[in-house]
Symmetry: C2
Subunit: 398 residues, 2 copies
């Protein structure tokens, strides 16, 4: 059994704070500052340019990629880290389209995280006319997988409601129809069990700043099915993907049959130091244990809120297996109420128009936290604290 009191002790969370936003930005692992100082003083400061060899900077895209890959069921050598998730979505969809050149339809859904849709819009503008992005309601994705579809791009877990796609059904139908699947794991990796190999997905992408706790703007990752590594092409063909990056040839030749071909340009090595420290937390975590604890805590939270917080309505699927690892509630005064919660050290977040969202992250959240969070919410509602003027003003960035 995973010992979650041990993982909890690996995070540096401000005293008194109940942090229910690890689904948006994970908290700092205690090991992060020391790991970063080591990178700065022993590596950059001391080895300088030689660090690319002596400290393996050049291959950290892959060594850290493998560590992330293990959390999503990917075999070693099929995942790399670096760049942003927006870039990885672009790269994966472009690569997917190139695998099915005779088709022109990209299928997503209108519950997908908007940047995924935006990046596809940008990609389509670069391509020939005739490409089309279809965004039905999430529950209609499966029905919309036809033999017109080149790429199915879905985020497994809805960033608002927590609703989870049936990835197995989507991948199976997509493959039966000859389509390629790009699976966005932003709200899945480190939240729920994922097995990209067992489901035989084509591409998976995600970020490491949410449930993986590698810091704001931490590197993204991309996984490519091993069966595709010899044929897949990256449209973002930087020198890091070249078969001989230090030959400085004028022609691009992709690294043969390897995940290196998904590398792009020179990645931030400082951000890799934080990712390295964050991944250590996962060494003693069993993903099934984590999932069970996430479900237990979520069910407790929903039950207590529904019993004690009138006017606040649960906004996700009732079946815990149909959810990711956050729970959302609708409340007419959700924005102001969330501000009041935050002022009382219960940190969740708000998504327009009226969704209060709470990340359930067993690595550092336990039953006592959940009960205390509900106490706080109950008290805010009872006293109508959310009516205070200071909680009504919308900040520029919510």
């Amino acid at each position: 059994m995973t010992d979650f009191s041990k993982t909890r002790a690996m995070f540096d969370i401000p005293e008194g704070m109940i942090y229910l936003n690890g689904n948006s930005l994970g908290p700092m692992p205690k090991a992060a500052p020391e790991r970063m100082q080591r990178f700065l003083m022993d590596e950059w400061r001391t080895d300088l340019i030689r660090g690319w060899n002596t400290r393996n900077w050049f291959m950290q895209t892959n060594t850290l990629g493998d560590r992330v890959g293990r959390l999503i069921g990917a075999p070693d050598g099929s995942t790399v880290v670096g760049d942003t998730l927006s870039i990885r979505v672009f790269q994966a969809v472009a690569a997917g389209l190139a695998l099915v050149p005779e088709r022109k339809v990209i299928l997503s859904d209108n519950g997908n995280f908007p940047t995924d849709l935006y990046m596809v819009e940008g990609l389509m503008k670069l391509k020939d006319a005739g490409y089309e992005l279809r965004i039905p309601d999430p529950e209609d994705v499966l029905d919309n997988i036809t033999d017109e579809v080149a790429v199915v791009m879905v985020t497994e877990v809805d960033y608002r409601t927590g609703r989870r796609h049936d990835m197995s059904a989507i991948i199976e139908k997509a493959h039966a129809q000859g389509a390629v699947v790009v699976w966005d794991l932003a709200h899945s990796a480190g939240a729920i069990p994922v097995d990209v190999a067992a489901l035989d997905v084509d591409f998976a992408v995600g970020c490491t700043y949410k449930y993986l706790n590698a810091g704001p703007g931490a590197p993204a990752f991309i996984h490519v099915a091993p069966r595709l590594l010899s044929v897949v092409e990256s449209a973002l063909s930087g020198w890091y993907a070249h078969e001989a990056p230090f030959a400085f040839d004028t022609d691009f030749r992709p690294m043969p049959d390897a995940i290196e071909r998904m590398r792009i340009g020179t990645p931030s090595i400082a951000s890799f130091a934080l990712l390295d420290a964050a991944l250590d937390v996962w060494d003693a975590v069993d993903m099934e244990d984590l999932h069970q604890k996430s479900i237990d805590l979520s069910e407790l939270f929903i039950r207590e809120v529904e019993a004690r917080c009138p006017g606040v309505t649960f906004a996700g699927p009732r079946d815990p297996l149909a959810r990711g690892s956050h729970v959302s509630f609708r409340f007419e005064h959700g924005y102001a109420c969330m501000q009041a919660l935050i002022a009382n050290q219960v940190i969740g977040d708000f998504r327009a128009p009226d969704v209060m969202r709470f990340g359930i992250t067993p690595l550092f959240i336990d039953q006592a936290d959940i009960l205390k969070a509900v106490d706080t919410l109950e008290s805010i509602l009872k006293n109508k604290t959310w009516r205070e003027e200071r909680f009504q003003v919308r900040a520029k960035v919510t």
Copy 2:
């Protein structure tokens, strides 16, 4: 007058090392570790998700962009940082092509840094057939600017020889022919005076890990001429570029008339902390003083090497104004000789087939360093130290 003894004192360089590789990876500013600790402990650890507002993380792309912009003559509001230089090249060339949609030729040169060419290759594969990348010899770029050319993409300073393009002439002719110019400043920013506004360039891109000293894989930057900010489109249209990023609309609408439209996805905030510390060094530096000192040190280096190091041939332009801020020499046993130099604490680098390259960085290199470096080289040549077996073996990454 800039006091270069003060800037030198702002870097933490290992005792006894003469670091002539600041053109590849700048050394660590002394302020970096403390700035990073502050980011980790006071910002990420303490403010957590609220840091996007309270610590201005969301706008650091722009505030740091403005600081970099000032070093290249860009007015505030026309430069952002984030992503890699490879991505920025792709973005700039794609945006340039969209401004001249009836033309299909991208003009660069065969001395350009390869990743720039590779990224264009990838971009062309995404576009309609008919696009063409022309790479004449660098000295023939000007003659190849015709009314067929959509985008001229050149790196001002050759990464091997230091040879410098006449950007003024290139931009003038390109504009007369109706072409757009993408100027890669990787080896210019922080090395030589640059005035993107005076030369009225369309796009400028560059990195901050060389002469700007922000650490391995530090963020890239992109500058867009203010006159283009209302019309330019980014093909990499992530949520950071949306006019209402927190509205979570399904349609992309670019930020109107602003450099924000060149932002892409969520950038590494840790890498921004290092960039912030690195930019402080520049506050008291006059770029003309820096350039004069770079020329003085370079001329001294060339003169001494030519006088004392037989067999080693200067490989750059004689006219100091036709060079960037590194000097290169050809030597038959250049690889082994550079290994011997490095073993003796003189750090330069090697570029195939036979180029020994030395960055001249007045922020932290002075006349005594240059003379000591030449002493070391002279002694290695005299004793044929480079013949030792340990210096002959090529590492995987040079």
